[in-house]
Amino acid sequence: MNGLTDSFPTSRSRIPLWLRLIGYELRKSLRGPVVPALCAAFLLLNVFVMLTANAFPLRGEIKMLSGIAEKYGIRTEEPGYTQLQADYRSGMEHLNEIAVEKEGVTYEHAADFWAAQSGKAAGSTASDPTDSTDALPPDPSTVPPSHPSVLSNPTTVLPDSNPQNNGFGVPYTEEELDEFYLTAVMEWYAVTPDTEAFYRNLDVQNYAEFQIGKFGLSGSAADVIREQYAKLDERTEEIVSSGDHGALFFPGPMYKMHSLLFKTMLGFLIFESLLLTVLVTGTIAKYEFEQRTAAVVYATRRGRRTAADKLLASLSASFLLTAGLCAVTLLIFFGIYDYGGLWNAPISSYFNMELDFPYLTWTPLTVRTYLLSALVLIAVVQLIFAALSFVLSGFLKNSYYVFAGFALCYGLFVMLPSIVPRDASFWIYSMFTPFYLILNPHGLFMGAGTLLYEGKEWITLSVWSGMIGFAVLLGLKRFGRQNL
């Protein structure tokens, strides 16, 4: 009678009893068509989202950008960058040689060449390329950032694969156009704006006041926001000092790759995993009552301790389903979008900025470490959700009620900040819930908006893990003394 340490010391099976029992519980939840069908549907949906993303038609450019980062490195202070600028200048010289030969003009930027060709293709008269003020590098203090690159010009017509039918009406060969295109892509990085000045001039406190005004905060709530933005100001200095601000990245305004990966894809993955977690946990926890097998199962030697097996099975199933769904989805995603040279690019890079405020992480995070941290966070959140569903199942009649109960909890916790007074610091802390945390997966680990508190992720997860762990223990104890 060793409880969880019971084992079968036989030649036929050396799997410990508790592990076998967890396996039985997993089998109960995963057999039947619902979970596999949902997983397949979610994967199809995720692939559909990837294929219909704005960046999908631009994946060739993304691959090219990634290749440039791979070849020259991502740091502007490193020798590779000097080489990139040299290669870019050489590319421009070659472009102008050919342009003079074929059109009798020169271009200051490769982007101007493409703008001019696009104009011709559209049947309009191209402006004098040397007179184009648009072609000048932007004032770094302007927000949002702009760039003369072909990449940021939505009217750019990209080269056709058939040189005889390239649509430009000029006698450039396919090879020449490909080369000019690469030069234009390199230009994005080679002709960088003064990113350091941009960060130094970033008025973080003004942004804090904007957020305070936007949400109508006052009192201690506003004080906390100001305090956090003051810390973020210091962190901005660190980012500049480390050189992360100028590191190469996919151009944010054009591709919005941070949003695509961390907001859209992780957002879908989080809610899909959540649905699977609650469904599987509800099914496992209430299985004996729904199949009317409770009287047999709970009168065996294992008895009420089967509930602990069910808890472990729920946590395992939630983790495995979340991990599986994330792994397959992200493998497909990175198969489509090449991140080869940019895995170590810092999220806080100027180039990653998509709107009017850069992504500023509280600690130095690269694409790789941000993704891994976000995935760990998602896994822990799903375990918390599984445990919460398990606790709810102790009070609710069947798995449908567990689902409804969880949805109610979710709604209440998401609504909490809207009913809490906005002059108390509790307004900030009311957002420290796993439900709120997963609403903005692209804003994790960074200072932005009002949910910018440094370390909010780990504070939230630690506190909730503790609370849910305690609730689970109480739930198991209660079940042990419950009339069935």
Partner: protein
């Protein structure tokens, strides 16, 4: 020895059992009462699915709640509503229950084979149970209860769905098992209990009314059970005056077995009472009570 000491069970304001005292040694015990009288509540307490509101249940002097897994290790239980996993085969299902009962696979495999043969399911051991008849399912239930060779075997309405041949075989099986264990058989079918029960326990008004051997119980109404013949047009009047226990059509008249507590009339033949007579007599006033146990 399994003892029930002054056990009561309340569900909110409803008292399902009141101050029950019982003692079980090895042998077959028939727990007899109409549906809703509290049989299942008592059985569930013996199976540790319900906890007494007052009093305690002990096995060899030790509280069964405190014994926890040690007690349940001695227990085999077939609930009234036997649930099963319809997509499992009996083999798979019994393997799972054996694991819950802490049996190693080496122990479980031969035991499962033995029990499947005993309940005549060896030919369908690998078939999914969703295609099984009620009787076949009930036999799976009996097999799972006996998996761990329990010292205390509690069976709640075990013969439901069994055909007459299976019932006889099942009764014989229980008789052989009862030599060295406690077998508690809860039923409202008197004929299941009468031939095999060493003692019969009858519950009425949430209390134990009788606990005695079948013979002793039947003697309680000795001299009060008669048989007579009545014409069809007199039958209704007869039933309104006497408690009819059973009726049988014989030629143009009805042969009525009935209970009367006064002097015998001419034409009445006194007969030996049986347990069914006592059952009908005992519960003559009672409508079947609704099960007041809160729905789960």
């Amino acid at each position: 020895m399994l003892n029930v000491h002054q056990v009561s069970k309340n569900f909110g304001s409803f008292q399902a059992l009141r101050s029950i005292d019982l003692e079980f040694a090895n042998g077959v015990y028939g727990l007899l009462a109409p549906n809703g009288a509290g049989k299942t509540t008592l059985i569930k307490m013996l199976a540790t699915l319900l906890f007494p509101s007052e009093g305690e249940i002990t096995y060899n002097g030790e509280n069964i709640t405190a014994m926890d897994a040690r007690y349940r290790n001695l227990l085999g239980y077939l609930p009234q509503q036997f649930g099963y996993y319809k997509n499992d085969s009996p083999q798979k299902y019994l393997t799972y229950i054996a694991a819950l009962k802490g049996m190693s696979q080496a122990e479980a495999s031969p035991r499962i084979a033995e029990l499947l043969k005993l309940v005549a399911l060896e030919d369908v051991a690998g078939k999914k149970m969703k295609k099984f008849s009620g009787g076949m399912i009930q036999r799976v239930g009996i097999a799972q209860a006996m998996l761990n060779d329990p010292k205390i075997l509690i069976l709640d309405e075990p013969t439901a769905g069994l055909d007459p041949k299976e019932r006889v075989r099942f009764r014989n099986l229980l008789t052989s098992l009862a030599r060295d264990r406690i077998v508690i058989l809860s039923t409202h079918i008197v004929s299941d209990v009468e031939p095999i029960a060493g003692e019969v326990i009858m519950i009425k008004d949430q209390r134990i009314l009788y606990k005695d051997t079948v013979d002793h119980l039947c003697r309680r109404i000795e001299g009060r059970v008669f048989e007579t013949y009545v014409e069809h047009d007199e039958a209704e009047t007869f039933r309104s005056r006497y408690l009819s226990l059973s009726e049988k059509q014989e030629s143009s008249r009805l042969k009525i077995r009935f209970l009367h507590e006064g002097e015998a009339m001419p034409g009445w033949t006194p007969v030996m009472p049986n347990l069914e007579d006592l059952f009908i007599y005992t519960y003559r006033d009672g409508q079947e009570q609704e099960d007041k146990e809160p729905a789960k």
